[in-house]
């Protein structure tokens, strides 16, 4: 990853331009708010839905930023792993009648193993190669998983039936229970992941290798083993997210694909390798997506996300929190 730190060299003219763009964006938002018939309820709903979706984005992105940050692998198979987790969860619910959330116990370790196998067996060989090759490799894996699932399960969307009763009402906005659970659980899992990275031996080793693989091996850390474990952790994060979304998203082979690109956008926004940044970035993107849908009713909700993405790439590539520069 060769993105030189250009934060240092920002002559006044460029700061002015950045400020100008920020002012323009805010002006557009304010204008839209005044000209659109937008009730407070709509805004609250957008914020609520955005935060709930955003927490899941954040969880998925945390795994990705870990992989991106430590292994420098552009993991385009991230979303496909999510889909895999969803199908696994679906199978367990469908055949064994388990409670969807209980499948966490199986799906997370299963994805852990899949991730480990993937890294050790396939991706390992491409570690030194240029970024584009890794991108294509993981992309190939993604297509493999997607179409393997298509072949096995067919294209019919599957749903997991969950009965929770009436949705919750918050300030006039609606929040269904599965989404609330997903929100809370995502935050808890994110906190757990953060804690694990900071406090456990493995977590510290992972962070060490992410900072400086050579230095880490000099103090006795087996970098290759850490690579496998990091990818596995990243994959299991996605597995957890898969279980959380299972109750309210349709399970089809392409479900995870949208998550891949959003996860990358979140990672860039939050800062490469920055795990807290990924969570906050996820929440931000969730909000931007929903609010963008409200403020630009003629456009797809993702449009606002892509605009923000490009602006981030151009004006602050190191992300909100400043990830690794290279």
């Amino acid at each position: 990853m060769t993105q030189t730190a250009t934060a240092a060299r920002r002559p006044p003219a460029q700061m002015l331009r950045t400020a100008g763009i920020a002012v323009a964006v805010i002006a557009v938002i304010v204008w839209r708010l005044t000209t659109l018939v937008v009730t407070p309820t709509v805004i609250v709903q957008a914020v609520l839905t955005g935060l709930m979706a955003g927490a899941v984005y954040g969880l998925v992105a945390m795994g990705l930023t870990l992989i991106f940050g430590v292994l420098e692998i552009v993991n385009f198979a991230h979303g496909a792993l999510l889909t895999l987790g969803m199908y696994l969860g679906f199978l367990l619910v469908d055949r064994l009648g388990l409670n969807p959330y209980a499948t966490l116990i199986v799906v997370v370790p299963a994805l852990f193993l899949v991730g480990a196998a993937l890294q050790a067996g396939v991706l390992n060989r491409a570690m030194g190669q240029p970024l584009e090759n890794q991108l294509l490799l993981t992309f190939g894996v993604a297509i493999l998983i997607e179409n393997g699932l298509l072949l096995t399960f067919g294209a019919t969307p599957r749903t997991v039936g969950v009965t929770f009763g009436a949705p919750l009402r918050v300030f006039g906005a609606v929040a269904s229970f599965p989404r609330i659970i997903a929100f809370v659980a995502a935050l808890i899992l994110a906190a757990l992941l953060y804690w694990a990275l900071q406090r456990t031996k493995l977590g510290t080793a992972i962070r060490a290798v992410g900072q400086n693989a050579q230095g880490a091996s000099l103090v006795g850390i087996d970098a290759r083993r850490i690579y496998v474990l990091t990818f596995a952790v990243g994959a299991s994060t996605v597995g957890a997210a898969a279980v959380l979304v299972l109750p309210f998203l349709q399970t089809e082979p392409t479900t995870g694909a949208a998550f891949t690109i959003i996860a990358f956008i979140v990672v860039v926004l939050g800062g490469l390798g920055n795990v807290t940044g990924a969570l906050v970035g996820g929440l931000a993107i969730g909000l931007i997506q929903q609010l963008g849908g409200v403020l630009l009713p003629g456009q797809d909700s993702l449009m606002a996300v892509f605009v923000v993405f490009l602006l981030t790439l151009f004006l602050r590539p190191e992300g909100i929190f400043g990830g690794r520069a290279t």
Binding site: A7, A8, R9, P11
Partner: protein
């Protein structure tokens, strides 16, 4: 009039001051050495002069024109060439094509550029390797290629960044001779060097950079006997090799 005038050049990176108020001149056809401990800011100075990034303050005046903040390719086309400390060939292109790229700035047709490139390669002893991919050249060859490529621009001033680095002592003298010849043909040289023997042998004048500031300037003998200069180098290895 001087060929190169550096006036009050300052460069800071987010609080770190790499260069502070550096001023000096280079006369046409002169060889000026630039020495200083590691981290003194020598390569930064080159990068600012050559346009890799603009200075925070100060001016670079080349051949009467203010080239401060000009993009690298404009500076190169104006007749100010440079080589890189970490060599930068075009690995997949032939040795010849490497030089032709630069020669095309001075010749309208590829044929003419190729002829000029061959002439330069011949002078630098690389003609027989012309068709070889540049990536297969050994270190010494790559050094020569760097210089050849810069020479193809027909520069009036050439910035050489540690051209002696990585060369065995036996390989140094031919390069020193070659550089003298380049000067005799009309190109002034400003060289950053750690190999003191080369600096002493080549330079008319020597400038000393320390912590981003010009510490001293004068003939090689004056500078190397200057107590402040010696002081600055304490803790650094000063290579006063005899050959």
């Amino acid at each position: 009039m001087s060929l190169l005038q550096i006036e009050g050049l300052t460069k800071s990176f987010a609080g770190l001051v790499a260069l502070h108020d550096v001023s000096f001149e280079v006369e046409p056809g002169a060889i000026v050495g630039l020495i200083g401990p590691n981290g003194a800011g020598k390569t930064t100075l080159f990068n600012v002069i050559a346009g890799t990034f603009p200075p925070t303050d100060g001016r670079v005046i080349f051949d009467g024109t203010d080239v401060t903040g000009w993009r690298p390719h404009r500076v190169a086309r104006a007749g100010l060439g440079r080589t890189f400390q970490l060599m930068r060939p075009f690995p997949a292109l032939s040795v010849r094509s490497n030089v032709v790229v630069a020669a095309l700035q001075r010749h309208g047709s590829q044929t003419a550029a190729e002829r000029a490139a061959d002439a330069i390669l011949d002078r630098l002893g690389l003609l027989d390797r012309g068709a070889q991919p540049a990536g297969t050249l050994p270190t010494a060859g790559r050094k020569r290629l760097e210089v050849a490529r810069a020479l193809a621009l027909a520069p009036r001033l050439l910035l050489l960044d540690e051209v002696m680095a990585g060369l065995l002592p036996a390989e140094r003298q031919p390069v020193i001779d070659m550089l003298r010849e380049v000067r005799d043909q009309g190109t002034a040289l400003l060289l950053v060097e750690h190999v003191m023997a080369a600096v002493m042998a080549l330079s008319d004048r020597v400038l000393v950079l320390h912590h981003g500031e010009l510490l001293a300037g004068g003939t090689p003998e004056e500078v190397t006997s200057n107590p402040a200069v010696i002081d600055a180098y304490l803790g650094e290895e000063m290579l006063i090799a005899d050959t």
